[in-house]
């Protein structure tokens, strides 16, 4: 039964969706303090290379590698976030895009460590490693009616799902708090926020760094799901994809990034049957959706509308007020 539903192809797509959601959130979170960072492909690369190199060369357990990947990306986030404070708007966007490019070029040129464009292969695979530890306990996927590779990908998806739920929970709570309000205030009027006693330096670097950590985290996960990475994975196109996730989905809300990542990962797959035209259609979809919903698909009023529906259904009132951001 389970074996019929769990098609590895679909599991694979789901796992990419889940990684992309983290990437989408990584832009969203930096954007929530008014900073548009296009450097997240670079941070993703840093996370991916860190974890891959550590697990390959030093036999570090995958989980430790992933965490260290995120941490190293976070350190770079602080290092870039501080000078980036001086920039705003498009200046910041392009400078961070440039940072991503510089990182990629370094991966290409620093051959002794990164193998250049040859890339790193033989990275321990998240699913396979998990599977190994299950095997030790004597577990056999056949007991669930699953084939090995189905089970492996199921493990990947479940792990990523857990991570996603934790992250979303984390950021929703953060956003509803004093910290989230500080981000939002800075986004709307930096000078006024400063006058209200908000340490804008701290909060801007915080949100920039959180974005970097998330991107690095997603990158590390990506490395262990693909088992192979090369500098081209973290180039301009990746930066643009990540941007699209968040803006297309709606940049005001975390749900926007989640929806955007899901939709934009599925779209090219769904359009596979018209292979020749699929990227053209992808472009047209972007143009059309922006014309119709320039604020992104998910926005506050849509959310409120949903909440109202829910309220009516449940026949009671939910909470006292609806937040602008959550």
């Amino acid at each position: 039964m389970l074996g019929v539903i769990l098609n590895p192809y679909h599991l694979q797509i789901v796992s990419f969706i889940l990684i992309n959601i983290i990437l989408g959130i990584s832009i969203y979170i930096t954007l929530s303090s008014g900073q548009l960072s296009l450097g997240n492909a670079g941070f993703m690369g840093i996370g991916a290379y860190t974890s891959a190199l550590l697990t390959i060369n030093f036999d570090l357990p995958i989980f430790l590698g992933i965490i260290l990947g995120a941490v190293v990306a976070g350190v770079f986030g602080i290092l870039i976030g501080i000078p980036a404070l001086r920039l705003s708007g498009v200046y910041l966007a392009i400078a961070t895009l440039g940072f991503g490019e510089v990182i990629r070029v370094i991966f290409v040129n620093w051959e002794s460590i990164t193998q250049g464009s040859i890339g790193l292969s033989g990275i321990p695979h998240l699913g396979r490693e998990l599977f190994k530890s299950f095997q030790i306990t004597g577990f056999d996927p056949d007991m669930l009616g699953l084939k090995n590779n189905q089970f492996i990908y199921l493990l990947v998806v479940l792990t990523l799902l857990l991570v996603n739920i934790l992250l979303i929970w984390f950021f929703i709570r953060q956003n509803k708090s004093r910290v989230g309000r500080a981000f939002a205030a800075i986004k709307m009027d930096e000078k006024a926020a400063e006058s209200m006693g908000i340490n804008i330096t701290y909060y801007k670097v915080l949100s920039f760094t959180q974005g970097a950590i998330l991107a690095g985290f997603a990158g590390a996960l990506y490395a262990h799901v693909m088992a192979y990475i090369s500098p081209a994975d973290f180039a301009y196109h990746r930066a643009v994809d990540i941007l699209i996730f968040s803006i297309f989905g709606g940049s005001e809300l975390i749900w926007g990034a989640i929806f955007g990542a899901t939709f934009m990962t599925i779209l090219p797959e769904a359009l596979r049957f018209i292979s020749d035209y699929r990227y053209m259609i992808y472009g047209v979809v972007l143009i059309a959706m922006m014309a119709f919903r320039p604020q992104g698909i998910i926005d506050v009023s849509l959310l409120n509308w949903f909440k109202k529906k829910l309220k009516i259904k449940r026949g009671g009132s939910l909470g006292i007020r609806t937040k602008k951001y959550n």
Binding site: S177, M188, D189, S195, M196, T322
Partner: protein
């Protein structure tokens, strides 16, 4: 003495916006700052809150030197301001605007916020209560869920005051709070500022509405071309010939009460 300015000078390139301005504000006072357009009043606010540093001069607040502190530190110390051109967080609700105001009076960081620790929850409740109370005070309770930019002008001004008060300031700087208000509204603003004073907040206020200023303020300083022209009680100022010439104008009708 709450605030003391010593020889403040501020130049923008060739333009000297402030020259050698000194004065002191006493605890609990409502202190007026008036003068012609371009006299340097807003600039003085910006210098006090260190939005930009003075070219020279020194500022002390409650006996401590505050020149050179970051703006948010100054707010932390107890000085908060409103803006001449209204700078609310336009996409936030009224209530949230006030909550942001209380930022520096609370301290839970990321971890506490995410884990919703007891301390954090208590802090949130306190901030919410304080905010509701302030909205009550400025008469915006019924608008608490309205998005700030959809408020009418006068309401926005009052919201700015509530937001500033949320930071629990000892000194409140108001930049033309009555601008864009009609007389009835100005009167309710008058009552509001009096109430604020009763809470023990010292007020420094820029305003061009003379009847309002004269009735409200305990003492007034007049700036002209960046220099201090006069200082004194409303009556003294109103009768100061120089001030009349530079700013008030001859009373051709019964405008000034």
């Amino acid at each position: 003495m709450v605030l003391e300015l010593k020889n403040i000078t501020k130049n923008f390139g060739g333009i000297s916006a402030l020259t050698d301005v000194s004065f002191q504000i006493n605890e609990g006072e409502i202190f007026g700052l008036i003068g012609p357009n371009g006299a340097g009043k807003t600039t003085l606010f910006n210098v006090i809150t260190n939005m930009f540093p003075p070219t020279s001069g020194e500022i002390s607040f409650l006996g401590d030197k505050i020149s050179g502190l970051k703006p948010h530190k100054i707010t932390d110390k107890g000085i908060c301001r409103t803006f001449q051109n209204i700078r609310l967080f336009s996409q936030m609700s009224v209530l949230e605007n006030v909550l942001v105001g209380s930022h520096c009076r609370s301290k839970s960081g990321v971890l506490n916020s995410v884990l919703r620790t007891k301390a954090q929850r208590k802090e949130e409740t306190n901030s919410l209560e304080a905010a509701s109370e302030l909205l009550e005070l400025v008469g915006l309770s019924m608008f608490q869920d309205t998005i700030a930019e959809n408020l009418a002008y006068g309401q926005q001004r009052r919201l700015e005051i509530a937001r500033a008060l949320a930071s629990n300031p000892k000194l409140l700087l108001l930049d033309e709070p009555a601008a864009g208000m009609n007389e009835t509204e100005t009167e309710s603003l008058f009552d509001l500022i009096k109430k604020v004073q009763k809470r023990g907040v010292t007020v420094l206020l820029i305003e061009h509405d003379m009847p309002f200023v004269m009735k409200l303020c305990d003492r007034i300083t007049v700036l002209n071309f960046g220099k201090k022209l006069a200082e004194g009680t409303p009556t003294e100022i109103q009768n100061n010939q120089e001030v009349i010439e530079a700013y008030l104008g001859a009373e051709e009708d019964d405008e000034i009460a």
